[in-house]
């Protein structure tokens, strides 16, 4: 009996929980043979009629065979399968000095399903027996060619890799294979990983033939011996236990025919099987079978072929399968739903042992080998590694970038391999930080925050590679992606653009601003009069303080004096060049709705010292054969003078050191000199934090989809998510190179003059050379600024 997709092929009574389609009883022959209606025709006429009819049927039959032959060769020689594009995370690269913690390494190894062993490790395993780590990588085809499996030893000391030894000369670098994180599937949702016959373990082939088709290499596509054996077995057992179909017939059925069960179809199948066998080598047919065979269902996705089957059930490539895993994989073919080892483990175990027994009887295993494995557990990984819904928010962003360059059809069928920038450790860290903060806030504030949502993006701050994306608190949910599609007022996250415009225009960080109430009449006659968050005014404050403390009145006045067009221009150059921005004064305080992705683009330009750096999710694309197809290269474009960004960054570092972002110090050392900015929109509907270290940039938003007010500020909502994520990543302190035209000077803000270091009211600030005050004054007590500063800093 031929294999049937998603239903048991034969044997047992198929009543699995997966609701297999009810078996149709074999239909009666579609047409009964015509009999002659003439009761007593003359012999001669009858003979002629029979001869003619025979000729007609013979000719029709011949035409039918020719047609089937064409169908077979056409399909078998063309592109046999639509292979979904495979998407990979970035590979983990190990080298001396690499920042890596025990926790991250354990996570990365489990993600790739490396087994912990206690003797000498083989490919895909690791040992910690020597005190350090010994890992044997699996090898992988990268952009620049195949990287073979490597044995590597190293230790982790002080959060870094040390003493890395891979037996090679010079500074060793060992790459583990990149984790597979998803695919782009064809409409029929068949997924497979193609394998060549020589990649398939001998034992798997032997087991398959022993169980499914013993005479495969002898028969001509059909096996009368097989049918007889199945018939005998089924008769003696009193139930259908064995099918008599050859592998060739099973392949024909899955490949060319519907799952309809009728004698006609059986006949067509038999003819086609013979034709297939006639045209092609046995090895070709076997290889096609191994890639075609249906092995399970992962949601909408149908798991086809032993290559993917191995990853799906055991998390390892085919060549690493153990005997009992091979037996299970072969056993599952009979009924992937009925024998699903995750849902029906007992049934699957029984079936596996049945296969092991057949392997023993057929001489695939000797008694000793059989005894060694028969009591082993199933060895199936709990959750398939290969989950397409694991990082939906990142994949969505990646697909949008990919669709600019590739046709959907090619993505779904050409078996492209897409290498992305996703860093699974950063992703998990962001997810956990986001979910933890949601739980904390909900338990603190109760029902009012029931619908609180979160979104965030993290990048490598120097290259713009996106390492993590979260689109909502349900991180596995493939729906509304807030990181890309939630446009929300950005509040004070707009302020750096105002200060940058002012710095470009010749102001410096010591320039005094008036933090006093203001009434600005707009062209339409209405009055704009923003207030500070705490409803207090602070008098004269230096720019650096006004930004660090996020004063609205001071910033609004600054924006008006700089001119809103300048602010718009700066925002555009920061990365919003294709976004229509409202040319209104309120823009300076964040009256513009942006997605976290757009905010990341802006802050990315600040983090890369004024060089706009496109956010990338893809590094390269290879064809199914491993041929390089396209690289997405690292590009930069200078948009700002390095000096202006250097000064702005200093003010943002001050924000984290002493301003609205100082609670980050609960999680992160001040030595990291992080730069950041909090953002809170009107009535606290949105809570934002954006900031960067020497190697990571992150933007986090929190709020409610229906735009309800919350009790949260940027510091109490989004900031802890950002800080917790940063804290679990290996950090490099932020130390920008000081541009040529920047000088550090002691400034007396009240008198707008240089002063001496020992003066009470002196601020040590980076100033662009052409803005350094000419006057130099000696210490001078008094002034509101000083008093203000004494309150603030001392």
């Amino acid at each position: 009996m031929p294999a049937k997709r998603s239903t048991p092929r034969s044997g047992g009574s198929p009543k699995s929980s997966a609701k297999p389609k009810p078996r149709k009883s074999p239909a009666r022959p579609a047409a009964t043979k015509k009999r002659s209606r003439n009761t007593a025709p003359p012999r001669r006429r009858l003979g002629a009629l029979v001869w003619k009819l025979g000729l007609v049927f013979g000719l029709l039959g011949l035409l039918g065979v020719i047609y089937l032959d064409a169908v077979i060769t056409h399909h078998f020689e063309g592109k046999r399968w639509s292979i979904p594009a495979k998407v990979y995370a970035r590979p983990l690269e190990l080298y001396d000095g690499m920042p890596l913690t025990e926790a991250q390494l354990a996570f990365e190894l489990s993600l790739l399903n490396y087994r912990h062993v206690f003797d000498t490790p083989l490919s895909g395993t690791f040992s910690t027996a020597t005190g350090g780590y010994e890992i044997v990588s699996r090898g992988f085809d990268f952009w620049e060619g195949a990287e073979p499996s490597q044995r590597v030893r190293f230790r982790l000391r002080g959060g870094r890799v040390t003493g890395l030894d891979s037996g090679s000369q010079g500074a060793a670098i060992v790459r583990l294979e990149p984790p597979l994180i998803g695919g782009i599937y064809p409409a029929h949702n068949e997924d497979r990983v193609l394998v060549k016959l020589d990649q398939v373990p001998q034992q798997l082939l032997q087991a398959l033939l022993a169980v499914e088709d013993r005479d495969f290499f002898e028969h001509f596509g059909l096996s009368f011996k097989g049918i007889a054996r199945a018939f005998y077995t089924n008769i003696t057992a009193g139930e259908v236990r064995q099918g008599g179909s050859t592998l060739t017939q099973q392949l024909v059925k899955n490949f060319y025919l519907s799952s309809e069960r009728s004698l006609t179809r059986k006949g067509v199948e038999a003819v086609m099987a013979v034709l297939l066998d006639f045209h092609y080598e046995k090895t070709e047919i076997l290889e096609a079978y191994l890639n075609e065979v249906y092995l399970g269902q992962a949601g909408k996705r149908a798991i086809h072929g032993v290559g993917l089957g191995s990853l799906y059930y055991f998390g390892v490539p085919l060549r690493e399968l153990t005997t009992e895993q091979i037996a299970l994989l072969v056993g599952v073919i009979k009924g992937p739903s009925w024998y699903d080892p995750r849902r029906n483990p007992e049934r699957a175990l029984e079936r596996r042992n049945q296969v092991l027994q057949i392997m023993l009887q057929q001489g695939v295993l000797d008694q000793r080998a059989y005894d060694q494995v028969i009591n082993k557990p199933l060895g199936v990984i709990k959750k398939p590694l290969y989950e397409d819904a694991r990082y939906p928010a990142f994949l969505e962003l990646m697909k949008r970038q990919l669709r600019k360059d590739y046709r959907d059809e090619d993505l779904r069928s050409e078996g492209l391999r897409i290498f992305t920038t996703l860093d699974p450790w950063a992703q998990e860290s962001l997810e956990q930080a986001a979910q933890q903060q949601i739980r904390n806030l909900q338990s603190g504030y109760g029902k009012s925050l029931q619908d609180l949502e979160v979104a965030g993006l993290f990048t490598s701050s120097n290259t713009g590679e996106v390492v993590a994306v979260v689109g909502g608190k349900a991180v596995r949910y493939e729906g509304f992606n807030r990181a890309l599609d939630a446009y929300r007022p950005i509040g004070s996250l707009a302020k750096p653009a105002v200060y940058l415009a002012a710095l470009e225009g010749g102001a410096h960080l010591g320039t005094l601003l008036q933090d006093e109430p203001l009434q600005h009449v707009l062209p339409n006659g209405s009055v704009w009069s923003p207030k500070n968050f705490e409803k207090e005014s602070h008098g004269e404050v230096p720019m650096v303080v006004a930004l660090a403390q996020s004063y609205n009145q001071a910033t609004a006045r600054l924006a008006l004096s700089v001119g809103i067009d300048k602010v718009v221009d700066v925002m555009a150059r920061l990365g919003l060049q294709d976004k229509p921005l409202p040319r209104v004064p309120a823009l300076s305080l964040g009256a513009v709705s942006l997605s976290p992705y757009e905010v990341t683009r802006m802050y990315q330009t600040i983090a890369t010292e004024g060089f706009a750096t496109p956010l990338r999710t893809i590094r390269s694309v290879l064809t199914a054969e491993g041929e390089p197809l396209q690289r997405y290269e690292f590009e930069v474009e200078q948009r700002f003078n390095a000096a202006d960004i250097y000064m702005l960054t200093y003010a943002m570092q001050e924000t984290v050191r002493s301003g609205t972002g100082k609670s980050t110090q609960k999680w992160l050392s001040p030595d990291l000199q992080l730069a950041g900015k909090t953002g809170t929109s009107d009535e606290q509907r949105d809570s934002w934090f954006a900031g960067f270290s020497g190697n990571y940039l992150g933007v986090v938003w929190m709020g409610i989809d229906s735009n309800q007010p919350t009790p949260l500020t940027g510091a109490s909502g989004a900031l802890p998510v950002w800080a917790n994520t940063m804290a679990s990543l290996p950090q490099v302190p932020l130390q920008a190179a000081q541009p040529e035209n920047v000088e550090w000077v002691w400034v007396d803000p009240a008198r707008q003059a240089r002063t001496s270091a020992h003066c009470d009211n002196a601020l040590y600030l980076p100033l662009r050379s052409d803005t350094v005050p000419e006057d130099k004054v000696s210490c001078n007590a008094g002034g509101r600024v000083l008093n203000w500063f004494k309150r603030l800093i001392r």
């Binding site: 200078q638 390095a642 490099v732 190179a737 920047v742």
Partner: protein, 154 residues
Amino acid sequence: MLSMKAWCVMLLVLWVSACAVQPVDTEISDQDLIDSESSLLTGVPAADNLLQQGESARQRGEYGAAVNHLERGIRMAPRSPALYLALAKTRLAMGEYGSAAQMAQRTVSLLPAAPRGAEQTAKAEAWIVIAQSREKQGDTAGAANARANAQAVW
């Protein structure tokens, strides 16, 4: 046409006597820039390894491979001007002048205001890449400006 070695020797002599000899010749051909090797290292041995592989690939004319090695290096040492400069020279070799100039500009931004030793060489080379790229794009004034900046490094 001087050979690469001769150029290296000449540059070396120039740098040794940097303070004494003025002005310095900044008329280095594209080919010599492409064939040159960084004396500035990244501080991460593995990234140095990739820097060296990237430069060899560039000298062999395998630009795709060169970019690949150098970008890998940048992931390990993301603020190393040596890698950005090597990338800028590769873009120059590929005839991508806009990109070469930008990458060289980024190199300059990562180097200290008053560079010493190998950093000094790197900074001058970065300005020369900018000058050369601007020339190819028809920006004569910008090129002269960049060349003056290269000169001013010494």
